[in-house]
Amino acid sequence: MTAMIEARGLSLAIHGMPILRGVSFALREGETFGLVGESGSGKSMTALSLMRLLPEGAEASGEILLAGRDLMALGEAEMCDLRGREMAMISQEPMTALNPVQTIADQVAETLIVHAAARPREARRIALERLARVGLPPDAIPPDRYPHELSGGQRQRVAIAMAIALRPRLLIADEPTTALDVTTQAQILALLKGLVREEGMGLMLITHDLAVVAGMADRVAVMQEGRIVEEGDTESLFTRMRHPYTRALFEASAHQPERRPTARAEPLLVAEDVVREYRMPGLRLFGPAPRFRAVDHVSFTIHKGESLGLVGESGCGKSTLTRALLGLDPIDGGRIRLGGEEITAGRHMPARLRRRMQVVFQDPYASFDPRWKVGRLVAEPFHLLETPPEDPAARVAEALADVGLPADAADRYIHEFSGGQRQRIAIARALVLKPDLVILDEAVSALDVSIRAQILDLLADLQARLGLAWLFISHDLNVVRAITDRVLVMQAGRIVEEGETERVLTAPEHPYTQTLIKAAPQIPAAWRKALHG
């Protein structure tokens, strides 16, 4: 079969910084081609180069042949004619990919209108048909809705409908499901698979998740720092993994830090029937506005030194619960006691109680004040001590050492550190007062697989050494399996299942947990055994 699209020696530099260094690959008709790599490896830039939608200051070279035509030689007008008709793209952020002030039907129909493929009335008919095809039938989801009225998954479906309106030969999907929940991700991937099969489209799937690629792609290419280091059909690549980087990537994603159980029987944090409600901006003029119950009678106990997991999809109430546990927001029912003492909201929480519990956030770039030096950042919790420590600098240096960072890090600003290093600093800040409990709110979700593995090892080591307990909140089952003793599964504000992690993840009792586990993409066990055998 002739290659439907082929890149030969594709190189790219932005403002002089090299991004791609001679990338070559080919994609045949009706084939799903997986491009996998960590952030900064240049996979998104490859996609944008194919579409020739590069940002300002980008200089690209090499050849891109679409059915024999070299796109690099085409003028802007010809490229506009190709985009949407011959090749299309969907991007990672469904929340911002759609025009907020235009109805979904109009946006899908626009692809047809712009290419003069149909008059407006006809274009709308096709648009409705395409929306139905991607799982948004007009009777279920009225076509004249606006993007803000749809969920993340539904918006991604609209984006797909827009892309396939003119049945292009190639669909490029750049991290299409990274921002979605596990269950929604499974549906979208199934939809893409169906489209490739039925419409004979070529699909280029870009992701950082090996499991997703394993389940979807016919052939896979692994990228590192702007180069394809290994390429081949999926099964042979996974079972042989000749290139060391591919192997390291695989190892890191399945990494299980060894942990010594340090859980003790003595309860540390006890939550009884905790309820938290939000006032909805109601439509009725008088009478109580309807209330949305984010946390609905949640009860659980964290024992000293225990590593408790909390799993649930976005919108299930995890972060609301976290804010309640930290005493940042008042609770509308039930009680939370830390070491026997009751936690009350915000202002009047005594310092000695707050000293026993700290938190690490998800986004390493947002959890630090850019204007503060690292030393002062880590020392901020000292505010909770009645008398400031005699030698704060030493305490900070010790905390930094605990997380494997040099003492001189204290004199530098946060923007001089990588994502992984920043999370280490966050952990140092949480541990500087030697708390009993640390809440890790999606602490590793934003990190690349290799760095995530190092942080998990660090956490396991710290728990063993300092005997502290933590509540590990995540939407990623693999991470939870790696680091927690017991796990709670949360859905729509309620704990639907609780138990020892291994038991819950291998023999789930509650149907929701079952769908959760089934939806999470797994690298086939046979391939893993073949690799180790």
Binding site: L328, A351, M357, A366, F368, D369, P370, E380, H383, L384
Partner: protein, 275 residues
């Protein structure tokens, strides 16, 4: 886009520095005493002795412009000071207590002051309490307060949702300390940019007030009044009306260019692109 940034800032800073320098120098030395009238030498064309000629009272235009710069800059900068000292704390307080009664009161108060026609009220204040530079400062300053309150509240609100603020709350710090230690330093650049804009608007407002005779009183020279007095002689001595007008335009232009340059320099979006 980035290459152009320092140019805008440099040009603006250079122009404004010239005026600031002229104003400072005028404290120590001025070619001719602006209070001494010399009717005999009135409307003299530019000469070695009077580089920019003399006005209808025979005073040296260059000295008048230099001392006039002092008035304009002093009035505008103090008005910005009033705006910042009163406006920023209000904005921070409203943001710290967003959604509460305080927030509502401060915002409603802001809208109320915004609803008042600033020029009309400025004229009322200066006319009522006697035209003088101090009254002009107060009149212009009052209308800077809501601007800074609104700008600082807006910037602070977007910060309050950031994780590092929650981290500070978990470290036991309360709204007041957080506003001081975290919020203020991080909205400083927005305030600096807004400051330069209000500074340039202040110069225009002072010129407007003095033009209708309500700014600084004689014998203190002010650009606006020089403009008003020179207007009727625009035919016989256009120089008298052109020079003060030009001085106002250049000073405001310099400040606005500086403001633009600062905004690009400090704009996080651009800064991240540069890292």
């Amino acid at each position: 886009m980035r290459a152009r940034l320092p140019l805008q800032l440099l040009i603006g800073a250079a122009i404004f520095a010239a005026f600031a320098l002229a104003a400072l120098v005028s404290f120590l030395w001025v070619p001719h005493d602006v209070t001494a009238l010399n009717i005999a030498a009135k409307l003299a064309p530019p000469s070695r002795e009077y580089p920019l000629g003399t006005d209808h009272f025979g005073r040296d235009m260059l000295s008048m412009l230099m001392v006039g710069a002092r008035t304009s800059i002093a009035v505008a900068i103090l008005a910005v000071g009033i705006g910042m000292l009163a406006g920023v704390p209000l904005g921070l307080w409203a943001a710290a207590r967003r959604g509460s009664l305080i927030d509502e009161i401060i915002m409603r108060g802001n809208d109320l002051v915004f609803a008042f026609p600033s020029l009309v009220i400025a004229i009322l204040i200066t006319a009522v309490f006697g035209p003088s530079a101090t009254n002009a400062i107060i009149a212009i300053g009052i209308f800077n307060i809501p601007v800074f309150a609104r700008v600082s509240r807006g910037a602070a609100l977007s910060l309050w949702t950031r994780d590092f603020i929650m981290a500070a709350r978990v470290a036991g710090k309360r709204a007041f300390r957080i506003s001081l230690e975290h919020i203020l330093p991080n909205i400083a650049n927005v305030l600096i940019v807004q400051g330069t804009i209000q500074f340039s608007l202040g110069i225009l407002a002072e010129a407007g007030l003095s033009y209708v005779g309500l700014g600084a009183q004689p014998p203190t020279p002010s650009w606006g009044r020089m403009l008003a007095e020179a207007q009727t002689m625009i035919y016989t001595a256009p120089r008298l009306a052109i020079l003060p007008g030009l001085a106002i335009v250049l000073a405001v232009l310099g400040l606005n260019l500086m403001g633009d340059g600062l905004r690009d320099l400090l704009d996080p979006r651009l800064r991240r692109a540069r890292q």
